[in-house]
């Protein structure tokens, strides 16, 4: 027994010093097998099935027709609507998230403010789903307290075509988790803006505007762009909140659910899967670009 332990330690020591024997290193990869098997079973197989069913005809041959049909009629409307409100929500989130991050980063009084803001953002960025939707219904719904207060202040929220399920309404609701998420992304970048850069800028005769235009914004740009992509993807894929706020399936995730609900004829369900396939493609593109932007943003943070 003791012998075994000692050999093991020696082997360990040898490995730390030099490269491990090849056979042993290959065996070590086997230890990751359960994890990979789990991913294959519960993530890859469902994801690949989506693409397979989206590109298969009833007869079982390969066809792109369902993938194309995802961009016609009501499906196209859903895509347009989703892209419109997701881009809007992302833009608002980037703008106010960055402003709030800057305000929190530069605030000196009270001292606990910054910690409170980041801690709350950690919670709010993960808030969502049903409770958030109902919270906003109680605030800005037709019978909402906020609606009543605004009305009393002379602004009839529902005079136009405002509705929590429309573009403007969804943007307001999604801002609740988008703004804090953006704050968490940009705060490290804003902390990375060094005081000495500002001093250098003003020593060279630059004004505050010069500083932001030539130094601040270019350094923040990758974070802002990455944040936009992330918030876009985040809004595009959200399901539960929109499910409560909109009554018909006018955004892409709800349309997918409509097709999955099974009230469609046999041939039709391929369209639902092709919508899901497109959604995965859009998410992959957004997230990959986000990763690239993030890598670039980290250059100034150390």
């Amino acid at each position: 027994m003791t012998d075994l332990v000692i050999t093991d330690v020696v082997a360990d020591g040898g490995r730390t010093a030099g490269a491990p024997p090849k056979a042993r290193r290959d065996l070590a990869w086997l230890g990751l097998l359960p994890f990979f098997a789990f991913l294959v079973l519960f993530l890859f197989i469902p994801a690949i099935s989506v693409f397979r069913n989206a590109t298969n005809t009833e007869a079982g041959s390969f066809s792109f027709s369902a993938m194309k049909e995802a961009f016609t009629g009501q499906n196209l409307e859903a895509f347009k609507f989703s892209v419109k409100f997701s881009a809007g929500a992302a833009a608002i989130g980037v703008l106010f998230g960055t402003l709030l991050a800057y305000a929190a980063a530069t605030a000196t009084r009270p001292r606990w403010l910054r910690n409170l803001v980041t801690a709350f953002s950690g919670v709010a960025a993960n808030m969502g789903g049903l409770p958030l939707a109902f919270a906003f219904l109680s605030l800005l719904g037709r019978q909402g307290v906020g609606t009543k207060i605004l009305n009393w202040a002379g602004w009839d929220l529902y005079a136009g075509d405002f509705d929590l399920g429309n573009v403007a309404g969804l943007i307001v609701v999604y801002s609740y988790f988008n703004i804090p998420l953006m704050l968490l992304i940009t705060l490290p970048a804003i902390d990375g803006l060094k005081q000495s850069w500002r001093e250098a800028c003003s020593n060279l005769g630059g004004t505050s505007v010069t500083y932001w235009r030539r130094v601040g914004l270019p350094v923040l740009a990758p974070s802002l762009l990455g944040g936009f992509l992330l918030l876009f993807a985040n809004s595009f894929a959200a399901y539960a909140t929109a499910r409560v706020l909109t009554d018909n399936s006018k955004i892409v995730p709800l349309r997918i659910a409509f097709f999955l609900g099974g009230d469609v004829s046999i041939g039709e369900d391929a369209v639902g899967f092709s919508l899901a396939a497109w959604m995965i493609i859009i998410m992959v593109v957004c997230m990959s670009l986000y990763w690239m932007a993030r890598k670039r943003a980290e250059r100034w943070q150390s």
């Binding site: 469902p46 000196t108 919270a135 003003s202 894929a237």
Partner: protein, 319 residues
């Protein structure tokens, strides 16, 4: 003691206008040189903070009012503001025969998901750090894949498999592995960060050379050192499971969020109360998490960092 006495060694008080210690010796230059409009410049940031505070608190307050006060909004005014506050809406929810089974299922799913997550990820993460550090980037990439396959797309795939795996998917507990997947980005990051923070190899070598077997090395040396990471991974997982709606709704599993949705349709006030409770529980999980991680590790702003990491994308606003 003389109240005007100032400890000569104490650090200089921070200049409230500038906030940061001078980056270079500034001699006798008065604070604020080079930034004369500083006082005015604080107006905008302060305004942003105040407006944000209203925006983020208002929905929570109105949700609480709607759940706990039985006064229609039309009649709400200064004189009715304090009328008819009660917990009756909530008790209505508790009296519903479907509430307790839904709560029980959600709690079982949460416990099951936490156990499966730890059982799967702890060995994988420890093994990767010890034996195949080269695989770390591969694994990290794998763990962010669930971001790219949102819950609604994942459940579309599950629907396709369903006819071939009814024996499995008919059980309510078949949700557990999929919830492990949904929480994977949060959980793996948290465990990975925990492992990075300790000198795993030295700990393991020391324990092994003192004669401990692998079992006691893992359970008595490694895991106690990872306590914070394990707790945060578990809490994040629980928060994801308790709020997950998309998959449960599509597969018609009667979890708590699904009950919340249907019950709110029948009994708005009680339903809003349930949502308020769900919100409070989630916030409670996160706050406990922040307190726990802060105490263990005062040097790092663990929670902020953890949250920032976890929030690389929050998986659950959507779900």
């Amino acid at each position: 003691m003389d109240p005007t006495f100032q400890n000569p060694v104490a650090p200089l008080p921070l200049d409230p206008e500038v906030g940061l210690r001078p980056t270079a010796p500034t001699g006798l230059a008065p604070a604020g040189v080079g930034r004369p409009r500083r006082r005015f410049a604080r107006v905008v940031p302060n305004l942003v903070i105040i407006v944000s505070a209203v925006f983020f608190l208002a929905p929570l307050l109105t949700l609480a009012r709607f759940s706990l006060q039985n006064v229609p909004t039309i009649l709400l005014g200064w004189n009715t503001l304090f009328d008819k506050w009660s917990l009756s809406g909530l008790t209505k929810a508790f009296d519903d025969p479907n509430f307790w089974p839904a709560l029980k299922l959600s709690l079982q799913l949460a416990v099951g998901t936490v156990l499966l997550t730890l059982g799967l990820l702890l060995p994988t993460a420890i093994w990767t750090h010890l034996r195949v550090p080269k695989a770390r980037s591969v694994i990290e990439f794998m763990t962010v894949l669930p971001y790219m396959i949102p819950a609604i797309a994942l459940v579309a795939g599950i629907k396709i498999i369903q006819p071939h795996a009814r024996w499995f998917l008919n059980s309510d507990f078949s949700l557990i592995p999929f919830y492990v997947i949904l929480a994977l980005p949060f959980t793996y990051r948290s465990l990975d960060a925990g492992l990075k923070a300790i000198d795993l190899r030295t700990l393991v070598d020391a324990s092994r050379s003192l004669g401990a077997g692998w079992g006691s090395t893992v359970f008595r040396v490694v895991i106690p050192n990872l306590r914070t990471a394990i707790i945060s991974a578990s809490f994040l997982t629980a928060a994801v499971v308790i709020g997950e709606f998309t998959i449960a709704d599509t597969l018609l599993k009667e979890t708590l969020p699904r009950f919340q949705a249907t019950f709110t349709g029948r009994e708005p006030q009680g339903g809003y109360g349930l949502n308020l409770l769900a919100l409070i529980v989630t916030i409670g999980l996160f706050v406990t998490l922040s307190v726990l991680t802060k105490k263990r590790d005062p040097k790092r702003k663990s929670f902020a960092r953890l949250a920032a990491n976890a929030a690389m994308t929050p998986g659950n606003p959507g779900s």
